[in-house]
Amino acid sequence: MHAHDILSPYATKGIEYLLAISYLLLFIPFWRFVQGGAAVKEHAFGFGWFQVPNGVHLHAGHAWARPEGGAVEVGLDDFAHKLVGPLETVRFPEIGAPVRQGQKAFTIVAGGQPLDVLSPVDGHVVALNEAVRAHPADALRDPYGAGWLMKVEPRWLTGNLKNLFSGDAARRFLDTAAGKLAQRLTPQLGVVLQDGGTPVHGIARALDEDHWDELARRFLEGK
């Protein structure tokens, strides 16, 4: 018994080359077949109410981080601003204070209620946005630009970024949050849906006047 009976090397090699070329030629239609088909339907609650620009990384607690040079700009995302409404005060940490990803970074006050916001990165605070400190409600107008809240010198940015949402994942994260809100929409806000407009600011207060802070706190704690 020949366990390894080789044909004439030339014939064998020729067949092997033909097989390899056949594979490459067949792979092209195979891949096109796999990639074809109907596009994935967007989830019904992907209303696109909330924006996230490129280069911004979102934390599950709705803070955002954007690396800028050696520091990281930190702010509150579009969803959180619309959820709580115009800010009355921002209680910043001290310059030099340490922050840790997933732990309280600063406190926003809206509707008389203090709400803690979790830090998206580890590090220590190097700058605060004095313009927002003076006029907190202005942060709502440009949450990812002039509405940045503080700058952090990161301790371990690469590892922290792996725990944040960016790009499509960030958009899906906000869509999911919007979906949770959509499930709670009351008839009073039905007009907004039918018009196709964006939600009013202070959505949480519009949904539950008495316990809006509990609702907001759930989102800001990443739950």
């Binding site: 092997e16 056949s22 796999v34 599950a60 792996k162 994942a169």
Partner: protein
């Protein structure tokens, strides 16, 4: 994070009640164990453990059909070869999430790692059952290592990878126990552990096939090839993908109370994403196996009974699931992907059985057939793996994120 668990230790009885007995009083917990499924498991354990004791008390020959001619049986074929191949989902999904950056697969990462960890534990336990003198296992690795031997490479890689898998699943245990500082430290090691694990997997998944490179006269020519190690490695990727799709489908039903209702995980989309990878891998594997057949030059054997069996494996369990995966992805039918995953898993099991047992010593009169004792112990080890998975998944944050560690990995 949860420093309170460190600064205010929970009294021992309350710890047992909360963590071990799922918050139920002991009597209620014991009563909850009386189910039909647990009755079957209990029967398997009741038969298996005495058989295991008998095996060690009287030696391997008392329970197995192994011999000088057939030293490897189903303990190697199923527990070790199939167990390690099907545990490949751990490194596959870890690479997907941490190396390729596809974070949407994170919800299935921990179940995959746990499956892999328990798969390797079962494989090592199978090895300890299979070895005639298991207490001499450290000799091969540390005391008298044969560093040019494939056996040493497999042993060392599997040993190290078991540690790596244990470290990867360790954070789930730390979150369960509330040990925040150690948990945070383990998070800093994640990427290094993952890369080390992928490297080790590449090595020993291939080496398990390299075992048989030195047996050209024993493995049937249709299965033997100088590229066996390449076949084993590539098929392990397909096995991992199939196993993860299958495991995620089963777990979503069996552990539905462990799922986070707010997580909004689209498991169908994840399974279809994995299916796309499975389609490509299996398609490539089919042609690579054909190359092995061309290199052997034994086309004539295709027209024998063994040839029909070979064709069944190639067409029915490699090409067919590849096409099934492709159709599933194109038509967005996750149920079809799950069916293809089952066929893929069966195909890898069949391939490992063929190479190591069915088509091994194919022309020797003294053929091997597993004894009842071997079957009992194989089933015992698999059952223990399933029970361990269930125990861990019901208590630790495997199918959901721990509320205090949401978004942190």
């Amino acid at each position: 994070m949860s420093e309170r668990a460190v600064t205010h230790p929970v009294p021992f009885p309350a710890f047992v009640l909360d963590k071990v007995l799922l918050g139920m009083p002991a009597r209620a917990y014991a009563k909850s164990l009386f189910t039909n499924t647990n009755a079957i498991f209990a029967a398997i354990l009741a038969i298996g453990f005495p058989t295991l004791a008998y095996r060690y008390w009287n030696g391997m020959g008392a329970v197995s059909n192994l011999s000088q001619t057939n030293p490897w049986g189903i303990w190697v074929s199923i527990n070790i070869l199939c167990g390690i191949a099907l545990a490949a989902g751990g490194y596959t999904v870890a690479a997907t999430v941490y190396v390729f950056g596809l974070k949407q697969y994170r919800p299935i990462l921990r179940p995959a790692i746990l499956t892999g960890f328990l798969g390797y534990v079962c494989a090592i336990c199978g090895l300890i059952v299979e070895l005639g003198q298991p207490w001499r296992l450290p000799y091969q690795l540390f005391l008298t290592p044969g560093t040019t031997a494939v056996m040493f490479e497999v042993g060392m890689c599997a040993f190290l990878y078991l540690i790596v898998l244990g470290l990867e699943i360790f954070p789930a245990g730390l979150e369960w126990l509330g040990l925040a500082k150690l948990r945070r430290f383990m998070g800093t090691l994640t990427i290094g552990i993952v890369i080390f694990g992928i490297t080790l997997s590449t090595l020993h998944q291939a080496s398990l096939g390299a075992f048989f490179l030195m047996t050209p006269g024993k493995v049937h020519p249709l299965w033997y090839s100088p590229f066996l190690h390449v076949f084993f490695f590539i098929s392990s990727i397909g096995a991992g993908i199939g196993m993860i799709i299958f495991e995620s489908a089963v777990s979503r039903r069996a552990f539905r109370d462990q799922l986070d209702p707010d997580a909004h995980v689209d498991i169908d989309a994840l399974q279809l994403g994995l299916a796309k990878g499975g389609a490509v891998v299996l398609f490539a594997l089919f042609f690579i196996r054909l190359q092995g057949l061309v290199a052997s030059g034994r086309w004539d054997l295709l027209f024998t009974g063994w040839g029909a069996w070979f064709a069944l494996e190639m067409l029915g369990f490699i090409l067919a699931p590849s096409l099934l995966f492709a159709v599933a992805v194109r038509t967005k039918r996750a149920s079809l992907a799950r069916a293809a995953a089952v066929v893929t898993v069966l195909g890898v099991v069949l391939n490992r059985l063929n190479v190591s047992m069915i088509a091994y010593n194919w022309n020797v009169p003294d053929r091997y057939y597993p004894s009842l004792g071997e079957i009992v112990l194989t089933v015992l080890l698999l059952t223990c793996g399933v029970l361990a998975f269930r125990w861990i998944a019901n208590r630790m944050p495997v199918h959901h994120e721990h509320p205090e560690w949401r978004g942190v990995h």
